[in-house]
Symmetry: C2
Subunit: 365 residues, 2 copies
Amino acid sequence: MPGHRKTIKDVARTLGVSAATVSRALAGNPRISPETRQRVEATARDIGYIPNRAAQSLVSGRGSGFVGLILTDPGYGREDSYLGEFISGLGAGLGQHGIDLFLAAVPETQSELSVIRNIVGTHRADGLIIARTSEADPRIEFLSSAGFPFVTHGRTSIEAPQHSWVDTDGTAAFAEAFEVLYALGHRRFGLVTIKEPMMFRQHRTEGLLQAIARRGDPEVSLQIATSPRYDGARRHDAIAALLSAPERPTAVLTLFDGLALTVLEEAAHLGLSVPGDLSVIGFDNIASSALARPGLTTFDSETTRSARESARMLVAQLAEKTRPAVPETLLIRPKLVLRASHGPVRLSPRGQTTQLAHNGRGARK
Amino acid sequence: MPGHRKTIKDVARTLGVSAATVSRALAGNPRISPETRQRVEATARDIGYIPNRAAQSLVSGRGSGFVGLILTDPGYGREDSYLGEFISGLGAGLGQHGIDLFLAAVPETQSELSVIRNIVGTHRADGLIIARTSEADPRIEFLSSAGFPFVTHGRTSIEAPQHSWVDTDGTAAFAEAFEVLYALGHRRFGLVTIKEPMMFRQHRTEGLLQAIARRGDPEVSLQIATSPRYDGARRHDAIAALLSAPERPTAVLTLFDGLALTVLEEAAHLGLSVPGDLSVIGFDNIASSALARPGLTTFDSETTRSARESARMLVAQLAEKTRPAVPETLLIRPKLVLRASHGPVRLSPRGQTTQLAHNGRGARK
DNA sequence: GGCATTTGTGCAAACGTTTACACAATCATG
DNA sequence: CATGATTGTGTAAACGTTTGCACAAATGCC
């Protein structure tokens, strides 16, 4: 059977030219006559020739045609649809350019960094997408020094960027949330945050603190509840404590919707009406937020769009031979999705507020 | 700079042996003395030698080390966390075997089948995972006839399998749901289903119909509401119609949780109490189901486990040279997650029920 | 019409591996 | 001590492609 895969030589033979000519014709080499190119392309298609990528990349050192995404976070996928949305966006952004997405799982026995090192070493991928950056991120340091193309979803520092990234402007969003609530009369604020040093934690928190400071209203107070990211029980406890404090906040911002939904639950549990007794604003606009009672006011973080843009940037980076002197960055402003979990403050009978130090950091309950 | 990538020759040179010896030693060829193997391995590690996969697969015809997953469904990722969970499971299952996952997006301009054909042609992947099978699935036909290794998540036919698959036993689950509700006194049932001819639709529906037929109680009736899968408005309409029928069902099964949540919403809208006036059971146990009010009784479909098993099967298939005569299959029995959306039927004042024809198919409203 | 230039093509080497075959050294056997 | 088996290693070809170099033919110029 001639079931064997067609090679460039087969094309050459049927056409009576050399393999070199076929190679050049297919590569669009200008030294091949247009007429020959035509004939080559036709026969290549006819006999079903498909270039052998292994051979190609062996000789030309050309990339693998893959862009990698590291699958690490065990909470990925379970809690929300972040991963699904992100991947959909990446796939769409890359597919247009004939690049495929390659997912590397991190086995329990290995560190994420070692997986990255392996990918870089083996050239398994031509570039990497790094999701969910944390505050001190060794991955980024390694990739930068290795000169490997990558784009992060999430910034790492406020300073001038050393690499390309796409991020959500959590700073602006949280400032906006504060202003909306302040305008509704709220003065006692709560923030539900996580222990883990993710960049988005830092940005969103700062957005809130800066907005409070900018306002400069001494009546504004802020109480902060912190819990581990994936520990449901601790999360409930922390939030319950926040809501049952004697001077409990009348408005609570949360780092992401999952936390806000828990606030909603705890509020119901404690007999607090939302938004009557308590306003709640989340972040991300996950599917459950629309279904919550009351519907959660939150920010749409446009994960899919971020992913598509990340893909675009990485592809652009791969196309250039050298790394761009000044990396491309994109800050996406999340849109406030108004639903029913926020409203004007209800004048409480015993309504005195805690003082706020002007450095912007509120008293910790 | 010696920044060039180390080759097998570098190892050979530093050791004073031939490249062939190094290759054999690293491959575990038994004709190499243990002592030499030791030395080779040591120096290889020392100088940081990483085999060039392109060269390897060029000469040995060995596979690419990738397993592909086709990203097609635009609803993927948005509605629930299926994609995220599935990918996490796949990654975990494959990572253990040093195989990587590769995601191919389907551009709007191309059909999924052409993408698959391309992957098979280019040997971009050694095997494929096909998710969410539909009732007449050309993908499966093509892959089967091409002799390409693959595993599907979801069956395609009830008959003896021609290929390996992992699936969720929706038939048994829906029968179980029916029995639970029947025991609680329900006789008027509703089913919310979708237009699209997915396999899981068929299996789950049949499970319910069979259970009804088995019961043989002429008092049992079934009304069916159908809507397009992703059309929220039509979905609401169809469900509202079902719930406001004069002889509306007292218990509603839905094909998946998304539909059940809509039932919950519509019930609230119509002033029906759940589970007092209406029992609802979903399928999949998505995150929102636990947060719904009342908590949704549903089945846990164990997506992650399915994915892990799919990966395992595919890896096993790849390891064998020939396709197994009798494909491996796995039917996972979903576990009923009892929450608060179902309960005993409330005796209605005007409680006569529709007759049920004995072929098991109920009257369509 | 001779010469330089342009244009199109072929030859052969190279990329980093694996592997069939050959061969040298060692060893047991008679 | 010759013989054959065993053991370990080297040689060289092959995988399918790209590309530097050479070269023949066609073209332009004086």
